[in-house]
Symmetry: C2
Subunit: 187 residues, 2 copies
């Protein structure tokens, strides 16, 4: 449990006691490789924090998995839109390694916010991070070509190749695996 409380302490400056109260609301859940955190059509009611492992956000379009996002250790994991607007998810979220997360029900988070208003800053930060990430992705797709997007990704996550198989990286970049091979060859 070490990393989560360090994150809470560093990022939000919670006290020992507050951290304990927050952590008490989370339970541990483990995932085998390729297990679903959320399936298309389901309602997302949880917020998770990844202790170990990694997850893929993707949609199936014409039989193909289109990767929209990755999540790794010390990232939050949830489907923010579904959570926020209480609508079914059009996205799948699946582990691609054996993983372990801390999980909290959103309703629990809401009641915790009432007792401990500082918890709202977690929620605001989450909103900010999700929104910023999605806006940045749209910007990259508009302003950069495939090579530029690959470079930006490498800069953002230098060890991405250690973490994610290459065909998932290609999909995330919006290109085919062959094209990513070509880009890497000419680099």
């Amino acid at each position: 449990m070490k990393k989560f409380n360090i994150y809470l302490q560093n990022k939000f400056d919670f006290s020992e006691n507050e951290i304990q109260r927050i952590m008490d609301c989370f339970s541990v859940k483990t995932f085998k490789k390729k297990e679903f955190f959320l399936k298309e059509g389901q309602y997302c009611r949880n917020v998770g924090f990844i202790k170990k492992g990694s997850f893929l956000y993707y949609q199936i379009v014409e039989g193909e998995e289109k990767v929209c996002d990755f999540a790794f250790e010390n990232d939050w994991i949830t489907h923010y839109k579904s959570l926020l607007s209480n609508t079914p998810s059009e996205m799948n979220i699946r582990s691609f390694q054996d993983s372990e997360i801390l999980l909290m029900d959103m309703s629990k988070m809401e009641s915790l916010s009432q007792k401990l208003p500082k918890v709202n800053s977690i929620r605001t930060t989450m909103a900010e991070e999700y929104f910023t990430k999605s806006a940045q992705r749209a910007t990259n797709l508009t302003l950069l070509n495939a090579k530029g997007r690959y470079m930006a990704l490498l800069k953002d996550i230098p060890d991405i190749h250690q973490k994610v198989p290459q065909y998932h990286i290609a999909s995330f970049l919006g290109i085919k695996p062959q094209s990513l091979s070509r880009i890497r060859a000419e680099k």
Copy 2:
């Protein structure tokens, strides 16, 4: 002032009295054609509601205006990321017709939320709308080609050609004006 209170009533079910208290916090601001709501580098501290006119969100990249969004009558107008995270905007927001908006300072909105907690639902809805829009844009850019994105836009805003010059539409779609002409010709 008619439309804004209808919006508040329909969407959030506020009472007459609540609507009055909310509206009292907004002031009217007018914009001539091509006036800035927000310039790159500035901090966005306001939330606006467009009564009349239309606005363009864009960035300058290598001398070119890259359109990221439009906003029309009865849309909210703000730079959500800058507002949320209190960071300078990398975006420009500019009217492209004579326009009129209702404007509220964010700090006023925060103190209003405390007195009238229901106001938080406006903020949540705004977050939801902004996030959803940005996520949808990223999805469209990933999953659709230029023609598909144009069709999706036409479906979403059928009268877009009455509202926005074509070269701005092309820019929003992430293509050149010539390419949009070609797509329209072959359609």
